[in-house]
C-alpha cells in the first residue's frame, strides 16, 4: 500500500467530519488543517468528504405540487366530514366588504337623484292642477 492509498481510521474520519462541519475547537482545527495540507491521505479524505457534502447540499430542491395545500385541506374535510375545522364565523361566510361597497354605491345614487331633482326629494314636484280654461276664471271664487 502506497502513501497515497493509506486510509484514515474511523476515529480520524470522525474528527475530519467534525472539522468539515466546523465543530472542532480552534487548537484542534488548526492541527487538522495542517494534516489536510501536509498528508495525502487526509487531503484526499477531506476532498471526498467536502465533495460529498457539497454534492448533497447542491441537490435540486423538490417542490410540492401547486395543488398541495388544497389537496391536504380537502383530505381533512373528507376524512372528518367537515368537523375538524372550526365552523366558519358569519364574517367568513358573508362578504361584508362587498355589501358595504354596494351600500355606499346605493347611497351615492340616491344622493345624486335627490340633488338632480327640482324638489330636493325622491318624489317629483307636484304639478299645478290644470283648469278648464286658460284665463284663470275657474280659479276665481264664485260670488
Amino acid at each position: 500500500m502506497t502513501a497515497e492509498e493509506v486510509e484514515l481510521s474511523d476515529d480520524e474520519l470522525a474528527t475530519l467530519s467534525d472539522y468539515v462541519d466546523g465543530l472542532l475547537p480552534e487548537a484542534e482545527r488548526a492541527a487538522i488543517a495542517a494534516k489536510v495540507d501536509a498528508e495525502p491521505a487526509w487531503k484526499r479524505a477531506h476532498g471526498d468528504m467536502t465533495g460529498t457534502r457539497d454534492a448533497l447540499s447542491g441537490m435540486q430542491k423538490a417542490r410540492a405540487p401547486a395543488s398541495f395545500a388544497q389537496d391536504v385541506t380537502a383530505t381533512i374535510h373528507k376524512r372528518s366530514r367537515g368537523s375538524l375545522f372550526a365552523k366558519r364565523s358569519a364574517g367568513d361566510k358573508v362578504p361584508f366588504m362587498a355589501l358595504l361597497v354596494l351600500a355606499l354605491l346605493a347611497v351615492m345614487v340616491v344622493a345624486y337623484v335627490m340633488w338632480a331633482s327640482g324638489s330636493g326629494s325622491l318624489h317629483s314636484a307636484p304639478s299645478a292642477p290644470e283648469g278648464p280654461s286658460g284665463d284663470g276664471s275657474a280659479l276665481a271664487p264664485r260670488p
Binding site: T52, A55, F68, A69, A86
Partner: protein
C-alpha cells in the same frame, strides 16, 4: 418568529383553516423535499407530506411548545418517513428508487450522459446524473443514517436541531452523520470505478 409561532399555534388550536393553510404554504416545499429525499419517490413523498400536515393539525394540542413549531413539524416528518420506509420494506416495494419525471424521461430517451472520468465524485458527476446517483446512494443507506444525512447535508439543519428532531444525543448524530457520509462516499467512488 416566536411571536409568529405563538400566534399561529393559537389559531391552529382553534382549528382555523386559514392558519392551517398558512402553515402549509410556509413549510410545504421543505417538508416535501425531506420526504422525497427520504423516500426517493414522488408519489410516496407527496402522500407522506400530506399525512405530516394532517397529523400536525390533528395533534396540535399535544405540542408542548418546548421547541420551535418547525422543529416539531420536522420531528413528525421524520417519524412518518420512518414508518413509511418500514411499510414499503414490508411490501417489498421495488419502486423506491423512482426518480423525478425529468430524469426518468431522460433515461427512456437515452439522453443520460455518462459521468466524466475524474478521481473525485463531486467533480466527476453533474446535473441529473449526479442527482440520480446521489438519490440512489441515499436510498441504500439505512433509515437512521438516511435521516441525519438528509437533515444535515440536504436540508442544512444544525447538529443541535437534528438532536432535537431525532431525540438523539449529539455524539450519536455526529457518528451517524459521519458513517452516512462515509457510506455515500464509498458508493460514489465504487460507481466511478465501475464506470471507468
Amino acid at each position: 418568529m416566536a411571536e409568529l409561532d405563538a400566534s399561529l399555534i393559537r389559531r391552529l388550536r382553534s382549528r382555523d383553516e386559514r392558519a392551517f393553510r398558512e402553515l402549509i404554504e410556509a413549510e410545504r416545499d421543505r417538508i416535501y423535499n425531506i420526504t422525497y429525499r427520504m423516500l426517493g419517490n414522488r408519489a410516496e413523498a407527496e402522500d407522506v407530506a400530506q399525512e405530516v400536515f394532517i397529523t400536525v393539525f390533528k395533534t396540535i394540542e399535544s405540542f408542548r411548545e418546548e421547541s420551535k413549531l418547525s422543529t416539531w413539524l420536522y420531528r413528525v416528518t421524520v417519524n412518518h418517513c420512518k414508518n413509511r420506509i418500514k411499510y414499503l420494506a414490508r411490501r417489498h416495494d421495488r419502486d423506491r428508487d423512482e426518480l423525478d419525471e425529468t430524469s426518468h424521461s431522460q433515461e427512456t430517451n437515452g439522453a443520460v450522459v455518462g459521468p466524466p472520468q475524474h478521481a473525485q465524485p463531486d467533480r466527476a458527476l453533474a446535473g441529473a446524473q449526479m442527482e440520480k446517483l446521489l438519490q440512489e446512494a441515499i436510498a441504500q443507506l439505512d433509515e437512521d443514517h438516511r435521516i441525519v444525512v438528509v437533515l444535515r447535508d440536504v436540508e442544512d439543519l444544525s447538529i443541535e436541531e437534528i438532536c432535537e428532531i431525532t431525540g438523539l444525543p449529539d455524539g450519536t448524530v455526529k457518528s451517524r452523520l459521519h458513517r452516512a457520509r462515509l457510506a455515500l462516499r464509498k458508493r460514489l467512488q465504487r460507481h466511478m470505478v465501475e464506470e471507468s
